[in-house]
Symmetry: C2
Subunit: 299 residues, 2 copies
Amino acid sequence: MLNNAISIVGLGSMGYGMATSLVRAGHVVHGFDIAPAAMDRFVADGGTAASLVDAATASDILVIVVLNAAQTEAVLFGPDGWAKNLRKGAAIIACATVAPEFARTCAARCAEMGLHYLDAPISGGAAKAALGKLSIMASGTQATFDAAAPALDAMAETVFRLGDEAGSGSAMKAVNQLLAGVHIAAMAEALTFGMTQGVAPAKFVEVISQCAGTSWMLENRAPHIVDGDYTPRSSVDIWPKDLGIVLDIAKSAKFGAPLTAAALQQFLAASGSGHGGEDDAAVAKVYARNAGLKLPGEV
Amino acid sequence: MLNNAISIVGLGSMGYGMATSLVRAGHVVHGFDIAPAAMDRFVADGGTAASLVDAATASDILVIVVLNAAQTEAVLFGPDGWAKNLRKGAAIIACATVAPEFARTCAARCAEMGLHYLDAPISGGAAKAALGKLSIMASGTQATFDAAAPALDAMAETVFRLGDEAGSGSAMKAVNQLLAGVHIAAMAEALTFGMTQGVAPAKFVEVISQCAGTSWMLENRAPHIVDGDYTPRSSVDIWPKDLGIVLDIAKSAKFGAPLTAAALQQFLAASGSGHGGEDDAAVAKVYARNAGLKLPGEV
């Protein structure tokens, strides 16, 4: 009934922007989310709502933008899973942050079924997702890249081609998340340390962003603290998940990662003390509380 | 005998570039270093060699580019110290990384003697020092800034004016060093973690420098690892010193800094295992050794 379309599962902060970017590029796009409200909103924005099974039978490209490996596995190989309902030659673009080994296993299972699996973690945040300007750290066979190209073109500004085997994309994503998480926690540590020495947060941002101590994350997140605005662009609870994945991979490789481990503790403390749903800059609240400081906007 | 000149003590990797930048700007510059070879070289490059006492009596602006607070104190208040030999109204530009409280104490002692003390830590590295394009994080009275201006103009591209009291400059420098040190260690942690997952160091630099995980230090230092080049632009041994200062200040403020502490351990391990005089990117050797990895250029 449906045909030659692109399907996407997971209409959250990243997936929704990717789905509307696909619509804007002229594709027929079927969206699925466990939240009916997300599907209603997507229909209003030019997409169609589809069951998981209908999405699979209707499309040659399927984009998975879910939270983790377990959800990715359920979408692909669960009771209503996509893999068994897809046409041979269809491309699966798997965007969740997962362990490289998981990506390799999925790719092998898909290959046995005649399907192309692109290991394709995403980076850039919800704003770039909505603009179709994500960075995608992708690995897979040439045939997989070819089959996935129409969707990649619509969703990404930059596609890093990291090799012809699944796993390499997820490896680079894990590396990026290690740094991004450590840099957010380091920014929070430095900003609050500065406050103990009389450095106002706004002055911190103004000066350090021009100095050797700057990072992409500092420039992006520190202004949230200055503004006292913890509306979640990316939430604290992403980090126990993603740094947990990094440390699981590291443990398997017998690799000690002390800074990553220290950063994880700070995000866990932020989540455990009730800030898990806030913007990840709220990790600064852990430091501030421990040092008896009031951040901007706090009474 | 000498008059209206600028004197500078400490002709090391930073101080030498600052001294020649002052010469290039047309100033008569007296240099002092405990290493006679550094003074000989400076004379060949257009400066003059002076004893500490002669430098003090000859100049209205004195620049101190030594290693730490103890050396700064010796230069100012030791047996041949500058303070007692300077004319009233002379400006002292103190560039070492020190605790804010130390800077406040020095400024107060100088003020009692009719001298201007500029708390003026520097950032930017030896290359920018040689070009007269440092960043200087400065605080002090308006009269101090006015008196120091001819030297600041010649040495700095950017002078951050951080308030009218000594200590604020050193506070911001400590914040910057916290971040810079953590970011170098995080870069090393991520680069070597990536290697365990098949991410080549060159690919790490290519991709991550375009992603949210990037930092100024990553872009500056990671190429040293890719090239296997540990010629010290800034050495490992800077970091036990500077992160130690940060943690001393933090301890006084009862501020817990877990990422800084973790980074310090890695730099101590790098220094303790014989890499203290190498470029600070050599902290990656600690991670590589612990994980059984060979970095580029290692046999």
